[in-house]
Amino acid sequence: MNHLSSETFKENARAALADVQLRGALKNATSLFGERRKEAAASLPNWEELRTQARAIKDEVLSDLDRYLKEFVRNAESRGAVVHRARDAAEANSIICGLAKERNARVIVKSKSMTTEETHLNDALEAAGMQVVETDLGEYIIQLANEPPSHIIAPAIHKTRQQVSELFATELGMPPTDDIAQMTSTARATLRDRFAAADVGISGVNFAIAETGTLVIVENEGNIRLTTSLPRMHIAMMGIEKVIPRFADLDVFLKLLPRSGTGQRLTTYQSFITGTKRDAADEGPDELHIVLLDNGRSRMLAHPVTRQSLACIRCGACLNACPVYQQVGGHAYGSVYPGPIGAVITPQLMGIEKAAQLPFASSLCGACRDVCPVKIDIPQLLLHLRAEISPRKGSTAERLAFKVWAKVMTSPSLYKLSSIAGRILQHVMPISRAWTSGRDLRPIESKSFHDLWSND
């Protein structure tokens, strides 16, 4: 079990730092993804231009989200989809449980969806007596292990092959093996049986096209295609920010997303789903339900600074680039959204009190901003959130220290006096532990810059 809380980030991080195996796995994953992203971006001469275009499209939508959502709903419904609006997680889960119950569903297959992780949909469906099976290999592994995902696009990167082998041996009766292909084919066979039995398929959404009412979902494994074509009902859950205006806009996003995520030119499969099938004899579900989830997104939309958090396309590039994520991994954040973007989104979704440590889990180095395919200024957002938190936080001693600091720094005579005092006192006074436990404090030079300047 590994369900940590955002409220205890510091303790979580400390434990993660002591886990040698986890840090090895993180180093491999983040450096490999990082390298691949770099190569893939370099292969497109107009990469920067694409990022600018993508951000402009997202800004266009977010400045008028209501209109684009209405257009999307109208077009999706005119093609036979049924659209539901959910204000929060509880409402989304109850809509989906209701739909599944009405059809007497017993087995539900799911493809990877961060939004359903966000609402803890699986718990709700299981509580309603249904069997829910995650079908993405990584998600399936962590479902069997009863753990949350540790990376947006590679949910089980924290697990070694030995751990997966032991898990499959216990849960699926597989003879233990070192062979990853063998483990994969065991999962394939087990999951095929569930696909064949499934009454409902639940998926996420990468892009929803306002102009045509189309859902676009990208993947490598093929489980999304099975989830959205075999069961007689398909339910797709999406955050309201997933809408983009035009079908042609996909050109930009389908270039940026796979390259930023895994370094691929295109992922193996893209499914473009527009309403329901035209002929009953055709392949595909009879019913398509789309659940639009707000769950705090309107709040982010309302403020001009936080609005850009909604431009995220969930590629995971900022996780791989982040020196904090690289060391502590996803679980320490205690949120389905880890890393720099998680530190921004989580406090806004869960409430700032529940994740007040996360915006401070950054050195503000800006690597996340540099790799973001939609140019989200994550450091700016982190500072904005810190400013919201800090009046409520911080010890009296800290506040006093900064008051004194400000006074000294704005007065030349006090500054001069303090540097003389500092030179003497540094030898006799213990420096604050809280400050020096993570940093080296350089000794103060015997001659100040001022002294050197006036002597010359």
Binding site: R161, I180, N220, R225, T268, R278
Partner: protein
């Protein structure tokens, strides 16, 4: 045109697919099936029912377009009404006309919307199914086929 076919072939091969350019697609198909020595072959023109499809060795489909720069097959439900044959059996063989290959992703997106309402289900396929979810080790053929053959009929 020849250049475009070459670029397509190169892209398919770069994602671990096989690509054969021929003027006699039927003959090449027969040869592949003979070499594979398979029993049950499903075709999108004459599909098995959805649940029976798990028992087939090979699935054969067409594609309505293809993209040279990425090696992608574009299956449109208006023509390809049963696309699971391209996913469920361990081998997928696609037969396409050379004239349907477009250069870029953008060209393909334009084509899907041109003079018509977009079809209910469109599938892009680039190479065989893959995962790297265990220790980031690339494994081909997780939920979909392990092998993808694309036969390009250069006479059409």
């Amino acid at each position: 045109m020849t250049n475009r076919i070459d670029r397509f072939k190169e892209s398919v091969e770069s994602v671990a697919g096989h690509c054969i350019v021929t003027t006699d697609a039927t003959d090449v198909l027969k040869q592949i099936l003979a070499d594979l020595n398979v029993q049950r072959v499903a075709s999108s023109d004459n599909p098995p029912n959805a649940h029976d499809i798990f028992n087939f060795d090979v699935g054969i489909s067409s594609a309505q377009a293809a993209i040279a720069e990425t090696g992608t097959l574009v299956l449109d439900s208006a023509c390809e009404r049963h696309r699971l044959v391209s996913l469920v059996p361990p081998v997928h063989i696609a037969i396409i006309n050379a004239s349907t290959i477009v250069e870029t992703l953008s060209d393909a997106l334009t084509l899907l919307q041109k003079d018509k309402e977009i079809s209910p289900a469109i599938t892009f396929i680039t190479g065989p199914s893959r995962t790297a979810d265990i220790e980031l080790t690339l494994t081909i053929g997780v939920h979909g086929p392990q092998e993808l053959y694309v036969i390009v009929d250069s006479s059409k």
